[in-house]
Amino acid sequence: MPLLFSEDKRAALECLLFVAGGPVPVSTLAACLGLSKDDVVELAAELKSLYDEEGRGLQIREVAGGYQMCTRPQFANYIEAFLQPELPSLSMAALETLAIIAYRQPITRAEIEYIRGVKVEGVLNTLLSRGLIQETGRKDAPGRPILYTTTPRFLEFLGLKDLSDLPPLDDAAAGRE
């Protein structure tokens, strides 16, 4: 197979994704490699297919608006044995609140509380401290309440490319069957 780019640039891309510690935007990669964004996308696809060969533990993932080098899920057990298990998984209350913010952002605390029918202050603090949501300005309404949106970390957490990648929200009619 003829290579579209020098192997050098592909290897350099591999290095950048390795040292980065998280998803890297295409624009950053393009600037560092001295390539156009289109070239980076093509190069990343090449690297991805290289990593998709059999017997590999790592993968190149398109996530949170960029590319990330990460492990494949089937080896999680080995990694957990190595790194001590870290954060507990999210409670149902936290997930419900996160879902409302994800689909309705930007949204205020009062609006979330109306939908869930319960106070959500504690849950919001959990989500904020986990870096899954952020405060982004204030709503132009009485009391100027804080507006919440999800973060890039949220996309990474769920393995989503962007917000349009969220599972569709069931509409009322279809859902009842």
């Binding site: 089937q74 999210l90 419900e96 879902a99 393995g159 859902g175």
Partner: protein, 255 residues
């Protein structure tokens, strides 16, 4: 009878209500408020220990349901020949409840799907930023990349100029200046009436205290925010220049 009831397995009153409805396979759109209210209240009765802090939200919804039921009971025996429209109007609160429940149900289902995604996501590991690589990269970086020898000489000259302004004494009385944010703002506005432009540095004394620098900067930022001054900087390390707002920037320039 349900028996061994616990409230804490529910995410809130709407979750409980929805669970009761689903258990009976009723369509949300045609909830019989009377039936659901009875069930809901029966459920709350069965709860062994009501923790009021936590249960208050459940009780509020219970009260809403009773109010709803009462309203419907009072108005149901309609006179014959009354318009359907009016009946629908009476049903509206129930319709609102159904809508609210349905919206909640959609997010509850979405939450379950996000939970699945998160569980998958938790099995994928990234890597922290490579500190070793950062250290290596720093070693090769010129921290003086945009600084020239004349820049350095100018910085020194500025320091010396400031130093020469004050006679050096071994001891001196230091009176704590009564600096306030409002005072600094007034000083700046006064200066602005006398001079077309001046620098941030010129607002400070020859050996400004940290408090003085901070208050002066805050005063400038506050005035800039209110559109009373414009701030300029020619380049990196350049003086910050204060000018009056250009005409048309802001109507409320009067003090």
């Amino acid at each position: 009878m349900i028996g061994n009831i616990r409230l804490d397995i529910f995410q809130g009153p709407l979750d409980l209500l929805l669970t009761l409805i689903e258990r009976r396979e009723i369509d949300i759109q045609s909830i019989s408020v009377a039936e659901v209210t009875a069930q809901y209240l029966e459920y709350l009765h069965e709860v062994e220990e009501l923790n009021l802090d936590w249960a208050s939200e459940f009780l509020v919804l219970g009260a809403e349901l009773i109010a709803l039921k009462a309203r419907l009971l009072l108005r149901y025996p309609q006179k014959a020949g009354q318009e359907d429209e009016e009946i629908e109007e009476n049903l509206e609160p129930a319709g609102l409840l159904a809508e609210r429940l349905d919206e909640y149900r959609r997010y509850r289902e979405a939450a379950a799907r996000l939970g699945d995604l998160a569980a998958q996501g938790a099995r994928v590991y990234g890597r922290p930023l490579d500190q070793e690589a950062v250290t290596r990269a720093l070693a090769g970086i010129n921290p003086l990349a945009r600084v020239t020898p004349p820049d350095l000489a100018r910085a020194m000259a500025a320091v010396l100029a400031k130093e020469q302004e004050i006679p050096k004494q071994e001891t001196r009385l230091i009176a704590r200046p009564a600096l306030t944010l409002v005072g600094q703002m007034r000083t700046i506005l006064r200066r602005l009436r006398q001079e077309e432009e001046f620098t941030l540095v010129s607002l400070l004394g020859s050996r400004p205290t940290r408090l003085e620098v901070v208050l002066t900067l805050l005063a400038l930022l506050e005035l800039a925010r209110r559109g009373r001054v414009n701030l300029f900087q020619e380049g990196e390390f350049g003086d910050i220049i204060v000018r009056p707002p250009s005409p048309g920037d802001n109507a409320a320039v009067q003090e």
